[in-house]
C-alpha cells in the first residue's frame, strides 16, 4: 500500500465525515449567495471578484473551525492513540492537512460549476475567463488553503484549540483592519484572505491586477507553509512536550530544511516584490488639492535649480513588447552644456528599467543609478566632460514598476491588451531645460490591434509588418510623453470651441451608443462653456476612457480622462440595495467628471476647515443644472434635489452634529475620523444646497452662473478659496446657512 493510496483513504474518510460535509455545504451555499447578491463598480467586480472575496472571508472561518475539529477531535477522542501506533504522527498530520486542502479545492469546484454559467449569463461578452479563474482559484481557493495550513500549524504548535483559533482569528482581523488603513499604505501582500483586488475592468485585460493577486498568493502561501511546518516540527512524540518533540522531529532533515527554505523564500518574496518600487512617500505640502481625488497640478514650494544643460533635440525609438511585457529603447539626445565645465548629467527613468549602455559623443561612459526612488522614477547620472555640444545615446529597457508610495495601485504596465506608460516609462527624461527650438520626436512599435494615445501630440502610423505597427511622433514644447494603448475606438466632434476626440474602449461601443455618450458630452461641454467660459486648451481636447483600476480620473495636457465606470449603462450593474456602491448612473458620472474640467482641473477649489467648500459641491451643482436642462426639471429634482435633501437630513440628524459637545469626549483622532466621515457626505449634498441658496440670493440661475463664470475666468489654473467664491458672488458665509 503506497503513501498515495493511504492519502486517498484519508481524503475518502474526510468526505465521509459529517462535519466536513456540513462545512462544504455551508461554504458552497453562502458563496453562491454572494454570487447572486454582491455589488461592485464594474460588472466584473460585482459578479465575479466581489462574490469571490466575500465568500473567501466567510469560508475561511468555516475551514478554520473544520480544521480545528478534525485535528482536536481525534486527539480528544483518542482516535489518534490507535492511529499513531501504526504510523508516524508527522506523516499522519501531513495527510490530514493535505486531505483538508483537497476539501477546499473540492468546495471551490462545486461553486465554480454554478458560478461560471451565472457569471457568463450576466456578463456576456465582458466575461474574461482569466478574471473568473483568478477570482475563484486565485482568491477564494488559496484563502481557504491558507486557513487550513495556518490553523493546523498553530494547533500543532500550541496543542490548544482556543489558542490556535485566537491566532488565526487575529490574522484574519489584522488583514481586514489593515485594508482600511490608507494612511499606513500597507503592502498588498498582507491581505491573505480576500486580497486587495478591486476595480477589475470589464473592457480591458486585468493583467496588472492579476499579477498582484498571484504574487500575494505566493507570499502568503510561503508564510502559511512556514507556520504549518513549524507546527509539523512541534508534533508531539513519545510523550514529550514541545522541546522534546522538536528535538525528535528536526532529526528528519526535510522538516528543518523546509522551514528554512520557506522562511527564506517568504523573505525574498517580500523584499524582492517585483511590481512596486521603493519610492519615497510624497511630500504633499506644496500640492494644491481640490478635494476631488483627481490629480492636480503640483506647485513646488522652492525655486527650481538653475539649468545646466539645454536639450536641443531628442530622437527616441521604443519597442513595446506586449508578450514579454517589457520596453526596449534607444534614445539620442543633443544637448548644450550651458556651464561649459565638466559636470554630471542626469536622466529620470521609470523604476524597474535599467540603462544598459550610455555613450557620450560616441564613447561609452559609465552611468549610475541613484539610490533614491521618487514618484516611480529613479535618477541615472553620468559625468560629462567639458564639451559645448554633446550627443548622448542611451540604450535602456525593462519591466515597469509602479510607485509603491501611493496606495499600491498598479497604474502603469504592459499587457497584451493594454499598455500604459508614464513619460519616464516611455523614454529617459533628460534633466535639462527646453529651448524654444527644442525638438523631441521618435518612433515606437506596438501590436497592430492596439491604438496608441500620447499626451500633447497625435502619433502617425508609419507601417505594419508581421502584426506590429510602427508609429512616429513629434512633441512641441513639452519634454516627454507617456503612452497608452488599447483596442480603442475614437469619435471626433466639436464642442465648446474645441475639437474633441472621444477615445473609448471598443468593447464599450454598445454602452457608449446606448447612453448617447457623445451627445451628452457635446451638450455638457457646450453648456459649461456657455455658463462659465472656455477650457484653457489650445486646440483640441481628448476625452479618454481609462480602465476601472484607475478609480477616478485625471487631467494632463489636453487630456481629460475618466474611468470606464462612467460608461456603464443602466441595468448592467446590480440594482437596488446591491447597486454600484459609487452610486449614480453612467450618464450622471460622465457629466460630473466633465464638470470637473471647470471646477477641479482648470480651477482648483481649495477646501478649508470651516466650510464645506470643495470642487465637489460646485461640480454637483453644475451637473444638476445641466441635467435639468437636458432631461427636465422633474428628473433633475428627483435625482439631485431630493437626494441632497435626504443627505442633508442624515447629516443634520447625525449624533455628533446635533451634539457636538460629545466630540470633546473622543480622542482627537476619533473626533477627526467622525468629522471626516460626516464631511465627506456633506461636501456633495449640503454644499450643493448651499449653492442653490446662493443662487437664489444672487437673483437666479443666470445671474449666479454669470458670477461663477467671472470667477472661473479670473482663476484659471489657480486655486479658488471659499473667500474667493463669496467675494465673487457678493455674499457672506451666513447667507448660505440652510437653517436660516
Amino acid at each position: 500500500m503506497t503513501e498515495w493510496a493511504t492519502l486517498i483513504r484519508e481524503i475518502r474518510r474526510l468526505l465521509q465525515d459529517r462535519y466536513c460535509r456540513i462545512a462544504i455545504l455551508i461554504a458552497v451555499a453562502v458563496s453562491l449567495r454572494f454570487c447572486l447578491y454582491s455589488n461592485g463598480r464594474t460588472a466584473t467586480d460585482a459578479y465575479i471578484i466581489e462574490p469571490a472575496k466575500s465568500a473567501a472571508v466567510f469560508s475561511v472561518l468555516i475551514f478554520v473551525l473544520l480544521t480545528l475539529v478534525q485535528f482536536h477531535r481525534d486527539f480528544k477522542n483518542r482516535t489518534d492513540s490507535i492511529i499513531f501506533s501504526y504510523v508516524n504522527p508527522v506523516h499522519q498530520q501531513i495527510r490530514r492537512t493535505i486531505g483538508l486542502c483537497f476539501l477546499t479545492l473540492l468546495t471551490t469546484c462545486f461553486i465554480v460549476v454554478v458560478a461560471y454559467p451565472l457569471a457568463a449569463y450576466r456578463l456576456g461578452d465582458y466575461l474574461k475567463i482569466e478574471d473568473f479563474f483568478v477570482a475563484w482559484f486565485g482568491i477564494f481557493g488559496p484563502a481557504n488553503i491558507f486557513a487550513v495550513l495556518l490553523t493546523a500549524g498553530f494547533y500543532m504548535l500550541f496543542r490548544r484549540v482556543e489558542v490556535a483559533f485566537l491566532f488565526v482569528a487575529a490574522l484574519i482581523a489584522a488583514a481586514n483592519f489593515l485594508q482600511g488603513q490608507f494612511t499606513l499604505n500597507p503592502s498588498y501582500m498582507y491581505f491573505w484572505v480576500q486580497t486587495s483586488a478591486a476595480n477589475f475592468s470589464d473592457v480591458v485585460s486585468n493583467t496588472f491586477l492579476i499579477d498582484l493577486v498571484w504574487w500575494n498568493r505566493l507570499f502568503c502561501g510561503l508564510v502559511a507553509t512556514l507556520i504549518w511546518l513549524l507546527g509539523i516540527c512541534s508534533v508531539r512524540r513519545y510523550g514529550f512536550g514541545w522541546f522534546g518533540s522538536l528535538a525528535v522531529n528536526i532529526k528528519s532533515i526535510w522538516i528543518p530544511s523546509g522551514v528554512a527554505v520557506s522562511a527564506l523564500a517568504a523573505y525574498f518574496a517580500f523584499v524582492y516584490e517585483p511590481h512596486f518600487d521603493r519610492s519615497l512617500p510624497m511630500n504633499f505640502g506644496p500640492v494644491i488639492s481640490s478635494g476631488t481625488g483627481i490629480a492636480t497640478t503640483f506647485q513646488t514650494a522652492t525655486k527650481p535649480p538653475e539649468p545646466t544643460f539645454r536639450l536641443l533635440k531628442q530622437i527616441t525609438d521604443v519597442r513595446i513588447d506586449t508578450k514579454r511585457r517589457r520596453v526596449n529603447g534607444q534614445a539620442i539626445y543633443q544637448l548644450e552644456n550651458l556651464k561649459g565645465i565638466a559636470q554630471p548629467l542626469s536622466f529620470d527613468l521609470s523604476t524597474g528599467y535599467s540603462i544598459e549602455q550610455a555613450k557620450v559623443n560616441g564613447v561609452v561612459v559609465p552611468i549610475v543609478c541613484g539610490d533614491k526612488e521618487e514618484m516611480g522614477r529613479a535618477t541615472w547620472t553620468m559625468q560629462v566632460e567639458v564639451t559645448q555640444q554633446i550627443e548622448v545615446e542611451l540604450l535602456y529597457g525593462g519591466r515597469v514598476k509602479n510607485n509603491g508610495a501611493i496606495s499600491q495601485r498598479p497604474t502603469f504596465g504592459i499587457s497584451e491588451g493594454f499598455v500604459w506608460l508614464s513619460p519616464a516609462g516611455f523614454a529617459p527624461i533628460a534633466k535639462a531645460e527646453l529651448g524654444k527650438e527644442s525638438k523631441i520626436s521618435g518612433s515606437f512599435s506596438l501590436p497592430e490591434k492596439l491604438f496608441p494615445l500620447l499626451t500633447n501630440t497625435t502619433p502617425e502610423k508609419i507601417a505594419t509588418e508581421d502584426g506590429v505597427t510602427k508609429w512616429s511622433f513629434s512633441l512641441n514644447g513639452s519634454r516627454a510623453t507617456g503612452v497608452s494603448a488599447a483596442d480603442y475606438a475614437s469619435t471626433k466632434f466639436q464642442a465648446g470651441g474645441l475639437d474633441v476626440n472621444f477615445v473609448h474602449f471598443s468593447k464599450h461601443g454598445q454602452e457608449v451608443e446606448s447612453m448617447k455618450a457623445v451627445e451628452v458630452m457635446k451638450a455638457s461641454i457646450d453648456y459649461f462653456t456657455n455658463a462659465y467660459g472656455p477650457l484653457p486648451y489650445k486646440d483640441h481636447l481628448v476625452m479618454l476612457e481609462l480602465p476601472a483600476s484607475f478609480s477616478g480620473g485625471f487631467a494632463a495636457g489636453n487630456t481629460s480622462a475618466m474611468d470606464e465606470t462612467s460608461f456603464a449603462s443602466e441595468g448592467f450593474l446590480p440594482q437596488g440595495e446591491f447597486a454600484n456602491p459609487d452610486g449614480g448612473s453612467g450618464i450622471e458620472t460622465l457629466v460630473h467628471e466633465i464638470a470637473h474640467q471647470w471646477w477641479g482641473l482648470a480651477t482648483m477649489p481649495v477646501p478649508d476647515e470651516s466650510s464645506l467648500w470643495t470642487a465637489e459641491g460646485i461640480t454637483c451643482y453644475s451637473t444638476y443644472r445641466f441635467m435639468e436642462e437636458y432631461y427636465g426639471a422633474e428628473y433633475a429634482k428627483k435625482t439631485y434635489i431630493d437626494v441632497w435633501e435626504r443627505g442633508r437630513m442624515r447629516y443634520e440628524n447625525a449624533f455628533y452634529i446635533r451634539n457636538p459637545q460629545y466630540l470633546k469626549m473622543l480622542s482627537p483622532a476619533d473626533a477627526s475620523n467622525v468629522l471626516g466621515g460626516l464631511r465627506s457626505m456633506a461636501i456633495y449634498e449640503v454644499m450643493s444646497l448651499q449653492l442653490l441658496k446662493a443662487e437664489a440670493a444672487c437673483g437666479g440661475k443666470e445671474a449666479f452662473q454669470k458670477k461663477l463664470g467671472d470667477l472661473y475666468k479670473s482663476r484659471i489654473r489657480q486655486p479658488v478659496t471659499y473667500a474667493d467664491f463669496l467675494t465673487a458672488v457678493g455674499l457672506k458665509a451666513e447667507d448660505l446657512d440652510l437653517a436660516k
Binding site: 500500500m1 474518510r13 465525515d17 477522542n77 492513540s81 513519545y238
Partner: protein
C-alpha cells in the same frame, strides 16, 4: 520476536513514577497476561512496548536492538488496542477497517480478504455496513479488536480488550487470543483474572510501578498457597508484593 526491557523507569511531570527499574524479557510465541490495580503502570508499560513512549531510564529492545531505532519495523508488525480509544464515527465498520488496513500498509490486493477475516473473527458480519456511531459499546470494542487483528501481526498488545463484552464474547475472544499466541507474542492487560487464568502461559503482576510477580499463573497460586488465581493475586497484593 523478542522484546526486552532493561532497567526501564518512566517518570512523568511532577516526578510521578509510572515504572521503576523494570527488567523483563518477552518472547514469542506466548500469551502474557498483565494484571495490577489502577495506576500500577500497565498502560505505561504497553505504551513503552508500542514506542508511544520513550523510557526515562533504561532501554527497550526489539530483537536485541533499540526499539525506537526499529520503530517502523515494529509498527509494521504490531496490532494494538489501547484501553481508551476512539473510532471514526461516520465511517462504516468495513470502511474503518479499510482505512486502518491502509495505515498498516497492507498490500492492496489482500485488504479485502483481511477485512473479511477479521470481521468474521470478531463476529461483526451483521454490522459490516453499519456506521460506527450506531454500534453499541461492545460492538465498538469488537471493531477495536478487529483493527488490531488486521494483517495478522507478530506482536499484539491489547489493553483491557474484553471490557464491554458479555461473558460469551469474552470466552470467544480469549480463545481467539490464545489461538493467535501459538505463533505470536500476545500481551494482554486485564482486570479480569479469569481471562488470565484460562489462556495465559505467563503472568506479570504490576503494582506501584514495580513488577511484583513474573511467572506462570499456577506458580503464583502455588507460592501463595491458594486454590484460585484470584485469591493468590489478592494475597500477593495485601502482602505488599512479597511473593
Amino acid at each position: 520476536m523478542k522484546l526486552e526491557l532493561r532497567n526501564v523507569s518512566k517518570f512523568y511531570r511532577g516526578k510521578k513514577v509510572a515504572l521503576s527499574n523494570v527488567t523483563l524479557r518477552l518472547e514469542s510465541p506466548g500469551l502474557v497476561g498483565l494484571v495490577g490495580p489502577n495506576g500500577a503502570g500497565k498502560s505505561t508499560l504497553m505504551k513503552l512496548l508500542t514506542a508511544n513512549l520513550i523510557p526515562s531510564q533504561g532501554e527497550v529492545l526489539l530483537n536485541d536492538n533499540s526499539l525506537i531505532a526499529q520503530e517502523k519495523k515494529l509498527k509494521a508488525s504490531l496490532g494494538y488496542l489501547p484501553q481508551e480509544f476512539g473510532l471514526f464515527e461516520d465511517l462504516t465498520t468495513a470502511q474503518f477497517l479499510d482505512y486502518m488496513a491502509a495505515l498498516k500498509q497492507l498490500k492492496s490486493g489482500s485488504i479485502r480478504s483481511e477485512i473479511d477475516r477479521v470481521i468474521e473473527a470478531t463476529n461483526l458480519q451483521e454490522k459490516r455496513h453499519a456506521r460506527i456511531r450506531t454500534l453499541s459499546g461492545g460492538q465498538k470494542q469488537r471493531v477495536g479488536i478487529a483493527q488490531a487483528l488486521l494483517g495478522d501481526p507478530e506482536l499484539m498488545i491489547l489493553d483491557e480488550p474484553t471490557v464491554g463484552l458479555d461473558p460469551a464474547e469474552r470466552v470467544a475472544f480469549r480463545n481467539l487470543f490464545s489461538k493467535n499466541a501459538h505463533d505470536k507474542l500476545v500481551i494482554l492487560s486485564t482486570h479480569i483474572i479469569e481471562d488470565v487464568q484460562s489462556v495465559c502461559n505467563r503472568l506479570l503482576v504490576l503494582d506501584k510501578s514495580v513488577v511484583l510477580y513474573d511467572g506462570t499463573p499456577e506458580g503464583l497460586m502455588e507460592r501463595q498457597g491458594e486454590a484460585s488465581l484470584e485469591a493468590a493475586y489478592m494475597r500477593l497484593m495485601s502482602a505488599g508484593g512479597k511473593a
